[in-house]
């Protein structure tokens, strides 16, 4: 398999403009002849569907929720980056590009990242035009704040609910097109397979979650914007229903899955309180603008925080990384938190927590300042923990949050399966081995508003003859075959009639993944996971209990299906982690670290994208390497000291 990124030649800053000029276009009158299926209605999916429909394509939009506005993009808190340099503090497109490549630990494709920085400027304009109520200064202009991994203030925000407002902007644009009849929305409809005909992605198989009906939908291209796979660890900051099914089934139909082991652990989440916990709640990175992270200097110091004097406190991020301090990037901050807890200096029950303290800023600038900037986040913390963060420091601990890995895509965001486009967190492309804060929102909207509307046209126009010739209908044997396979799997799940709930298997998988494949991985821990996961999977298919039938709303069946995919995908993730004998970004192999505990990359042997090809369940996948060439940013030791 030849993975060609189709990156345009020429100077970095001109690549995207050049490609847009060289692309084939679809005549306005012809656009209506094409039908694009968009799966997922988060930031990337809603923005893509709306933009494609505005251009004149016929769009079918699918989401498994009851409404497009439920997508988990809604929960993103802190902000969205853009290289506007409104703050006059040295930002530029090039600097955002540089910070992102460095933040990704030199494991991303330069051209894609540059384009991301380039269009970031347009994203803010589009959102403002839609009525997104970004925070403003008193003069009426847009306000900014800082985020981890950056020394400039380039993040635009809406209190602590930026994801919500950006998603609502895209959802509203989507709604306008639905109201106009340009998009046909299928809510409560879950994609369960990809249909490939003559080597091209031509459709999807879905299940109607209300009636249970399994059906094929066909068109000229498929866009997957189905998010990340954090819940393979069971506990994460993701929503309960986030899953890997759409991208994993596409992987089984030939789409390479790239860098699955790059899973980001966010340093500031509310710690686990018990076995019943269903998810971990994120406390936005933006809090680290004003909060100071610390633990007691002495192991076993159980004094309440107010009784620990300054001299006995270790502000370890400020100590270890003077120039970034509390705004050190996520992978580095998470490992630092784990390290101090492993040393016995953790706080809270169970010693798995560190303090995020606002006493200094409350003293210096008043409670009103903090309330205005972070109000809803403080309320959320208080509700969940029954503690008052205005009076005592927040307790936080790292948690699984984001997935840099995803389906492999080229410069045009198309998979190695022609006609399959992958956007947002579902693809692997822009964040390398570690994503900087406030960049997921940026990437989702960049892909949906400003990339795929062009590249989709290029694909459709280039292959119009082939696409028009085979006007595909859902009677095709490939559709019937895929429908049968989907139905079969669901029937098998219902037929097991075992004794254990789906949830118990999901928890068990999550525990293995967190313990053995979490913040710190070793060859031994990964091999252990690779032994345990198939065992859990084997028992799942022998002993899971999925009550009810397939002909109506059956949440157990939905969850069982998603967990059955996690039980296969987990192996791919472990495999990827085991084959990457270096530490980079969020992937930390204890055998490969510097003397002071930082990630030790091996650029000579591992400077590539690991794109995996499916070879069968339980069989090792085949590795295809896309070499990464850095012409503009020289890979260096990634220091935030």
């Amino acid at each position: 398999m030849n993975l060609d990124s189709r990156t345009p030649p020429g100077p970095l800053a001109e690549k995207w403009d050049k490609r847009r000029f060289d692309m084939k276009l679809v005549n306005p009158a012809n656009k209506r002849k094409y039908r694009v299926l968009v799966v997922g209605t988060g930031l990337a999916g809603a923005s893509a569907a709306a933009s494609l429909a505005e251009l004149g394509y016929h769009v079918e939009s699918f989401c498994f929720h009851d409404s497009p506005r439920r997508a988990h993009s809604i929960a993103a808190q802190g902000g969205i980056n853009s290289a506007k340099n409104y703050q006059n503090d040295g930002d530029s497109i090039y600097r955002l590009f540089y910070d992102t490549v460095k933040g990704g630990d030199f494991r991303s494709r330069e051209a894609n990242v540059y384009r991301l920085a380039q269009v970031s400027v347009n994203i803010i304009d589009q959102c403002v035009a839609q009525g997104v109520p970004f925070a403003r200064e008193y003069g009426g202009l847009l306000d900014n704040r800082s985020f981890g991994g950056a020394q400039v203030s380039r993040t635009f925000y809406c209190r602590g609910q930026t994801g919500q407002q950006l998603l609502l902007g895209a959802y509203q644009a989507l709604s306008r097109q639905i109201g106009a009849g340009a998009i046909h929305l299928h809510p409560r409809t879950e994609m369960l397979d990809l249909i490939v005909i003559d080597g091209r992605a031509r459709g999807i198989v879905t299940r109607d979650l209300i009636t249970g009906k399994i059906e094929s939908h066909v068109g000229d291209a498929v866009v997957l914007a189905t998010g990340g796979y954090g819940p393979v660890f069971y506990l994460s900051t993701n929503a309960l229903n986030c899953n890997v099914t759409a991208t994993y089934r596409a992987y089984k139909r030939g789409a390479c899955f790239a860098n699955p082991c790059y899973t980001q652990i966010h340093p500031t989440c509310i710690p686990v309180t018990g076995d019943h916990q269903s998810k971990l709640t994120l406390m936005s990175e933006s809090l680290r603008n004003d909060g100071r992270v610390w633990v007691p200097k002495a192991a076993g110091d159980r004094r309440p925080p107010a009784e620990v004097p300054e001299g006995d406190r270790d502000y370890y991020l400020e100590r270890k990384y003077p120039s970034y301090g509390n705004l050190a990037p996520r992978d580095i901050s998470s490992r630092a938190a784990k390290q101090v807890c492993d040393e016995g200096r953790g706080v809270g029950d169970g010693g798995r927590g560190v303090y995020l303290d606002f006493a200094d800023v409350i003293r210096g600038r008043g409670e009103g300042y903090v309330r205005e900037k972070y109000g809803n986040l403080f309320d959320m913390y208080a509700h969940i923990t029954a503690e008052d963060p205005y009076k005592a420091p927040m307790r936080i601990y790292p948690a699984v949050h984001y997935c840099m890995g995803g389906l492999w895509v080229d410069y045009e965001l198309m998979s190695n399966v022609p006609g399959l486009f992958v956007l947002g967190e579902a693809n692997f492309s822009d964040h390398g081995a570690n994503r900087l804060g406030a960049s997921a929102l940026m990437q989702g909207l960049a892909d949906g508003y400003f990339v795929v509307p062009y590249t989709m046209g290029n694909y459709l126009a280039t292959h119009s003859a082939a696409l028009m010739e085979t006007r595909v209908s859902s009677d095709r044997p490939e559709c019937r075959q895929a429908e049968a396979e989907v139905g079969d799997r669901l029937r098998r799940l219902l037929a097991v009639k075992g004794k254990r709930s789906v949830l118990s298997f999901h928890r068990e998988l999550g525990k293995v993944m967190w313990d053995d494949v979490g913040m710190a991985r070793t060859e031994a821990s990964l091999k252990k996971a690779l032994e345990k996961v198939p065992q859990i999977r084997e028992e799942f298919w022998r002993n899971v209990s999925v009550p009810g039938g397939g002909d109506g709303l059956n949440q157990s069946l939905e969850q069982a299906n998603r967990v059955s995919d996690f039980l296969e995908f987990a192996e791919l993730l472990c495999h990827d982690a085991l084959s990457r004998n270096e530490s980079c970004g969020a992937h930390f192999r204890e055998e490969y670290q510097t003397p002071d505990g930082e990630a030790a990359r091996d650029d000579e042997h591992y400077c590539y994208v690991a794109a995996w090809e499916y070879k069968g369940v339980g069989k090792p996948p085949e590795l295809h390497k896309e070499p990464l060439v850095f012409e503009y940013v020289k890979p260096s030791v990634r220091s935030y000291k």
């Binding site: 009426g140 407002q165 019943h276 916990q277």
Partner: protein, 250 residues
């Protein structure tokens, strides 16, 4: 603590439905209400019985999926939180808890505690947007927005579309939901060109969906997990009246 739950079960939209009793044992105070239901459901699944169907997703009060009436109060006793943010420390050992879906003609029951809220999406589709295509926008700082206006717009825009306002209202009115979006966009210059049309169309759609009228009871505001103010209903009434009187709403 041990609790007795009385939960609405309804096998489908055509089933009459009934309250069924369940025991919730060993409930910890720091469990959320939905985590408590998860445990009950796990027990049912292990016995091969159909678990209680309910919508939830983010479990952090922002997606608007979760929608339970708990002892007759939308989202439970706390106020200012969604169902997923209601914790069991609000209850004590031996309590009986009544768990029901949102009840409104415009929100038909799908199964058990799951209802169809697509009426809300149709209201937004009727006009809850600014008509701007991707790509033509001016620089974000070209249009200054006074900070107080932005803050108020953000207050209105914080609506999560859960429908608690409808469920709490004796008339099942959707005024607070519709008013939140109308007000958000009416407060910002970007929304100005279409203000009249938006108000008229969204209210017309809201009425067509079968929601009731507003009689100023303010149950909506009391139930709203984002504490959205009824002042936005007053604002929408002015927007709507203005649209009708001026004729600009066509």
């Amino acid at each position: 603590m041990n609790l007795t739950l009385h939960v609405w079960r309804q096998s489908g939209s055509r089933d009459a439905g009934r309250m069924v009793r369940y025991e919730a044992r060993n409930v910890q105070p720091d469990m959320s209400f939905l985590e408590m239901l998860d445990v009950v459901n796990q027990g049912l699944a292990e016995k091969g019985e159909e678990p209680i169907a309910f919508d939830s997703d983010c479990r952090e009060g922002i997606c608007g999926s979760c929608c339970l009436m708990i002892n007759g109060r939308a989202h439970g006793p706390e106020g200012g939180v969604a169902t997923c943010q209601t914790f069991m420390r609000n209850f004590k050992d031996g309590d009986a808890i009544y768990v029901e879906p949102w009840r409104a003609r415009a929100f038909p029951v799908v199964k058990d505690l799951v209802v169809d809220r697509s009426a809300f999406d149709r209201i937004i589709q009727a006009g809850g947007f600014v008509s701007v295509n991707t790509g033509g926008a001016q620089d974000g700082n070209n249009l200054p927005v006074a900070k107080p206006d932005q803050e108020k717009a953000m207050d209105a825009a914080a609506c999560i579309g859960c429908g608690a306002c409808v469920a709490a209202c004796p008339n099942s009115s959707a005024m607070l939901f519709t008013a939140a979006k109308v007000s958000h966009l009416a407060l910002l210059p970007q929304g100005d060109p279409e203000r009249a049309r938006r108000a008229k169309r969204m209210v017309t759609r809201m009425d067509a969906e079968g929601f009731g009228d507003c009689s100023n009871l303010y149950e909506c505001e009391a139930a709203c997990p984002k504490e959205i103010s009824v002042e936005f209903i007053a604002k929408m009434n002015r927007e709507y009246l203005g649209a009708v009187v001026s004729g600009k709403g066509e």
